[in-house]
């Protein structure tokens, strides 16, 4: 795989939340943590649109740049992962992330955060692939099993695309040509730096 990428086709997303549910189930995500969420624009009004959002695994990842303990790393596929053993729960990645992806269980006194949790592109973490320790901290490692992220696999309308950036964008381009409208690939430019696409 080249560069891992997500794309949500807003012309197709019907806000069924299958991706959210699939993610929660696959990784046994605790209450209050949402690695993926669906945002609806102009809910209940003509022209309503929905977009499923999670960590986009940015090319020049802001979270990586600001983490004070430098706990992020990038896999060969361009997936942005982090080590929960190193994370101190400072919340800085959330302040830098354009998509609001990092999540925190509240832990400790006052409002202090626990170790950060976010979408892993179903690629686990630094532990051994599919070990119980990896599953417990980061969820299942589907990439190691040769599978793509569960959210996109489960998408009822195939609005959410996940995979190699080139594949994803060519599928999307074909669709746009076929239907003749709706060529906005939301978030793509912000995450992967091609400003023409945003």
């Amino acid at each position: 795989m080249g560069k891992a990428a997500f794309l949500c086709d807003a012309e197709r997303c019907i806000e069924c939340n299958a991706c959210v549910t699939a993610c929660k189930n696959e990784h046994e995500i605790p209450w209050g943590i949402n690695r993926r969420r669906v945002v609806t624009i102009n809910d209940g009004r003509p022209g309503e649109k929905s977009i499923s959002v999670a960590c986009m695994h940015c090319s020049d990842a802001p979270c990586m740049a600001v983490c004070p303990v430098d706990c992020f790393y990038k896999t060969a596929d361009g997936i942005v992962l982090h080590s929960k053993d190193l994370c101190i729960g400072c919340g800085y990645c959330f302040y830098a992330c354009p998509f609001g992806a990092p999540q925190y269980p509240q832990a400790g006194n006052f409002g202090s955060r626990g170790k950060m949790d976010k979408c892993t592109f179903c690629a686990g973490g630094p532990e051994e692939n599919n070990s119980p320790a990896e599953f417990q901290k980061y969820g299942r490692n589907r990439i190691a099993e040769g599978k793509l992220p569960i959210c996109a696999e489960m998408c009822s309308t195939k609005a959410l695309l996940a995979g190699d950036a080139d594949d994803v964008s060519s599928i999307f381009r074909e669709r746009v040509v076929a239907r003749g409208f709706g060529g906005d690939s939301w978030g793509w430019g912000t995450a992967y730096g091609n400003q023409n696409d945003s």
Binding site: P46, I51, V53, V69, G100, G111, W186
Partner: protein, 414 residues
């Protein structure tokens, strides 16, 4: 006995019974009034702070304003328009600019919603994160090094030129009480907590660059984890210390005309034989006092906002206030007429907290210098609490006069 701490130790043996003069009584009452006033002021400030928790940042609402377009004809969706209610549909390009984060919801009447409980997550893109990242990776740590470094250089230059400021008349054998036990407790509570907060804070700002490469990821992460714990918890000691010194010393730190003279003479710091008049606190100390109080209060407020994420709206209120009085912050790239989102609130607070802390660190470096290495006899004031009488005469002559006048009134002639 609030003022008993200043009894001159050098004085004759104390008489068995002390009858304070009426004048002394009046002054004592006045000081008491100032102290009570200060205490109620700080309680009031605390109450205001707590009250601001309750009111969440107004700007975080994702609902459209009352005048927003709430009914619009669709574009290319085939729905019929309702006569009489037709308004221009927002152009599609606008919609995509909006969800790309370029516009606020209020501007175009767009709304975003989520069905999960965390309503803050309805924001699709927050472009300010990029600015925050640039600030945190660029100017903040850069100026953060320059300001304290400039202070250290200035002090080193001062030391080389002026040397240690000696007691001109030489040490006397007599000592005079300057700070009582409780005053020193307040000072050291503030001082120790400040140093702990400064070190753990600097660790988070500079550690990744300067400490992590030395000790490795695991050890550094552990340091940062405990540093965060210490920082979050010691903050309360700092706030308590701040309230204590404020209440104890504010009465003595009201600016006075003689402070101007003191400042014009550079406090006598730059010339060997000049000792401008000063009371218990000279103008330099008053400046330190007020900087610590103001910067410390600001640090406490921003710190509380960071300890309780998304609970306060102080930055938004401050900007709204600036907007009301027509003060523009456009020269630092802040448009005060725009609402501040709950997330921006936090982002501004982290930057502000660090910037104020770095300035305060520079000021405290100077304070530590003059209280230890820079001036002979100064440390005793906060060490044993008793200072050399000659030192006191040179640097706080009016205070010495005041204390000895009081003592001699209290001590009838033999």
């Amino acid at each position: 006995m609030p003022r008993s701490s200043e009894r001159a130790r050098a004085a004759e043996p104390r008489p068995a019974a002390r009858v304070p003069s009426p004048r002394f009584e009046r002054r004592r009452k006045r000081r008491l009034r100032v102290a009570i006033g200060a205490l109620s002021l700080s309680v009031l400030l605390l109450a205001v702070t707590l009250a601001s928790f309750v009111t969440m940042a107004d700007a975080q609402s994702v609902r459209p304003p009352a005048n927003a377009v709430t009914n619009s004809t669709p574009d290319a969706t085939g729905m019929e328009s309702v006569p009489g209610k037709i308004t221009q549909p927002p152009a599609r390009a606008d919609l995509w600019r909006f969800v790309g984060g370029d516009r606020g919801p209020d501007e175009e009447g767009f709304t975003t919603t989520v069905s999960i409980p965390n309503k803050l997550s309805a924001t699709l893109v927050q472009p300010f994160g990029e600015e925050w990242r640039l600030l945190r990776r660029g100017p903040l740590p850069e100026y953060g090094l320059i300001i304290p470094a400039a202070m250290i250089l200035a002090l080193a230059a001062f030391y080389l030129i002026r040397g240690r400021i000696r007691i001109e008349a030489g040490p006397s054998r007599n000592r005079i009480r300057r700070f009582g036990g409780f005053e020193r407790f307040g000072h050291w509570l503030l001082a120790v907590s400040f140093v702990a907060l400064a070190l753990t804070g600097l660790n988070l700002l500079y550690g990744r660059e300067y400490i992590l490469p030395l000790i490795g990821h695991e050890a550094y992460s552990l340091t940062a984890w405990w540093g965060k714990w210490v920082h979050n918890n010691i903050a309360w000691a700092f706030m308590l210390g701040l309230v204590l010194i404020f209440v104890m010393w504010v009465g003595r730190n009201i600016p006075h005309r003689r402070d101007l003279v003191w400042l014009m003479k550079g406090g006598g710091l730059f010339s060997k034989h000049s000792h401008p008049d000063a009371g218990k606190f000279n103008a330099g100390q008053k400046l330190i006092f007020w900087s610590v109080i103001l910067l410390g209060a600001s640090l406490s407020l921003s710190g509380i906002a960071l300890l309780f994420p998304f609970q306060t709206g102080l930055m938004g209120k401050t900007f709204a206030f600036f907007n009301d009085i027509g003060l523009s912050l456009s020269f630092i790239g802040i448009d005060v007429s725009q609402p501040v989102t709950a997330l921006q609130e936090m982002q501004y607070q982290t930057i502000w907290h660090a910037a104020v802390a770095l300035v305060m660190i520079a000021i405290i470096i100077a304070h530590i210098y003059i209280g230890t290495l820079g001036m002979e006899g100064a440390f005793d004031a906060m060490g044993s609490g008793d200072v050399d009488l000659n030192w006191a005469r040179e640097h706080h002559n009016l205070w010495v006069d005041e204390v000895s006048a009081r003592t001699s009134r209290r001590t009838p002639a033999e």
